[in-house]
Amino acid sequence: MSQTKTKDHAALAAAFIKDEERVDWHDGALWYIREKRDIAAKQIPEWEELREAASMIKSNVISNLHEYLLQFEANLKKNGVMVHWADNAQEHNEIVYSILKAKEISQMVKSKSMLTEECHLNEYLEEHGIEVINSDLGEYIQQIDNEPPSHIVLPCIHKRKEEIGELFHEHLGTEKGLSDPTLLTRVARKHLRNIFLTRRGALTGVNFAVAETGEYVVCTNEGNADMGAHLSEVQIASMGLEKLIPQKKHLGIFLRLLARSATGQPITIYSSHYKKPREGQEMHLILVDGGRTRQLGRPDFRESLKCIKCGACMNTCPVYRKSGGLSYHNTISGPIGAILAPNLDMEKHADLPYASTLCGSCSNVCPVKINIHEQLYKWRQVIVKEGYAANTKALGMKTMAWTLSSPGKFTTAGKAGRWFLHNIPFVVNNKFNPWYKQRDMPEGPRESFAEWFIKNKE
């Protein structure tokens, strides 16, 4: 079977880590956000009960998804929203294009939607003559730098303010060397305001879609989703199938958990509930599969569909903090990305479940209690079974299994290993031994415990 690709997580991470000062800064920034989450969580005595309730609600959703989809669709239509279904990225992008084309719209403003990133919507629209501007500041910065977002909530967390200043100088004509965040934000405010006022088409993501009422909620701090939507003639919402929740009152649970888990805020500044179009406005909602039904059919991995995209797992993950989101080569990165991506393309993303020490921190900050670290372990078994593990790894493992299944072979191997370490260390301590690159090997004691025991105790 095929080998892993050249630019896998390990290689990309190693490149990121070379700049140790930058890694420490990136790591510190995300750890700080984890700490803010902790403070917020500890202020709610019922925090763990909320997580359990949210987890159970989402389990109910994925086990009744068929019914909730039909209910949601019926209510959307009652509310005057046009409903579309897309099997994959291509279909989704075509639908967006056709909606805009029908109104002769050639410029669209877009608020944060990881789903549209997955679908590479912007590239598709640009190829077809439609200009798209990302209105979320972090996503705007990534757009002008021609780079995907590195974090689902904090798109340019990996960028220093000086780098952002340089981008603004190049694209918005700001003074060279200007890097003050407030001043840069004011420039973006002015520039994007003009965008909002002139774009007839707006697209948003969906944080929560309520089956009971046919409304959906969009959460932002910047107000950009609303600035785009309420000034547009055509408003489109793109949504993954799994974003449904059954009843209106469940929003109380999820909105109490979302922002606290993501950034430590009690709630995002704006939680906008969209139900019906404005007078004279068209509202569309696109339901997208994009591999979600396939994941739904995987008993060990379907719980990953409970995700509410808060990013808490990324903030806590030491591997993510020290390697950066872009080293995961997938739209959704970090721990949750590593259990979603193999379903999308197992060959391309075979390395991601291994980009983890299985420490379990992610599962314990997850507001919907997804057993991420257990799914990472299980994906490894699937990847090996499907033949995507590197051939050398398989050979090494078979040898190890052979040695460890026999007391005699094990004793011999152990003795041999220690003898080499003790007498001819350079056989082990060399550049071909990855352990040895930055760490000393353990010393080889004269006797193993078993040898000592047999000699002294039996």
Partner: protein, 245 residues
């Protein structure tokens, strides 16, 4: 009660002193300890890498060696957790299931089964406690920082019994050290960076010794300490709890 002593493969080969300390500690507590000499490994290295299906013979050997005991105790949180969660057998599933309920890591065996309340141990040094992730979030040896739940710590409870020992406070009490099994080789750069950051935290807060329930973590941290010519040492918690003047 009779206890089967489980000494993980790499502890057996590279850290026999920790194994000896474990044996002595249990014997001092009045336990009848038996060490099955034909044991090898719990199978975690294969399973962790995705080759669970290759650990069947390893599992059967483990069952053969250990099913006769009332308890199985081992000085390694990650190995014990692995057995608790993943020991299965096509031929002996009933015995495997029984073993999964009676396998204990050393610290939790001392606090939960033997319920010891004092130790004749002396270790007059500043000690940093490294919570191995498998011990912490897997075996629940201490409360993890992620949860809004009451604080507790079984290893700290035991360390508090040791005379002269001063426990340091870390900036990040339970961040992973970066060993992670196959990870330490396949993602060497991240693994080492994580280890270096843990070492820095301990050094910054004055540790003379770093201790843990897991020698895999300690082996990894020790490798970094030695490479950087540090005077800080690693020591398995069994050796501290068994230490006398």
């Amino acid at each position: 009660m009779n206890v089967g002593l489980f000494i993980p493969c790499y502890v057996n080969q590279f850290y026999p002193n920790a194994a000896k300390a474990t044996l002595e500690l249990l014997q001092k507590s009045g336990v009848n300890v038996v060490y099955p000499v034909k044991q090898t490994c719990c199978g975690q290295p294969m399973a962790n890498s995705g080759f669970e299906h290759l650990s069947k013979e390893c599992n059967d050997l483990f069952i053969k060696n250990f099913s006769a005991f009332d308890y199985i105790v081992g000085p390694s949180a990650s190995c014990i957790l692995h057995i608790k969660e993943h020991l299965h057998s096509d031929k002996n599933e009933e015995q495997a299931a029984a073993i999964r309920t009676k396998v204990f890591e050393l610290v939790e065996f001392l606090t939960d089964v033997l319920k010891i309340e004092k130790l004749d141990a002396v270790f007059p040094h500043k000690v940093g406690l490294h919570h191995s992730c498998h011990g912490l979030r897997g075996l629940y040896l201490s409360q993890m920082s992620e949860l809004n739940a009451p604080a507790f710590s079984k290893p700290q409870y035991l360390l508090n019994m040791v005379k002269g020992l001063e426990q340091i406070t870390l900036d990040r009490p339970d961040e992973c050290c970066g060993f992670g099994g196959v990870f330490c080789i396949s993602e060497e750069a991240v693994s080492v960076k994580m280890g270096k950051d843990r070492v820095t935290d301990h050094l910054k807060n004055g540790a003379e010794y770093i201790t843990s329930s897991d020698l895999s973590c300690l082996m990894h941290l020790e490798g970094i300490l030695h490479r950087n010519k540090s005077s800080v040492k690693v020591i398995h918690i069994a050796e501290i709890l068994n230490a006398t003047i």
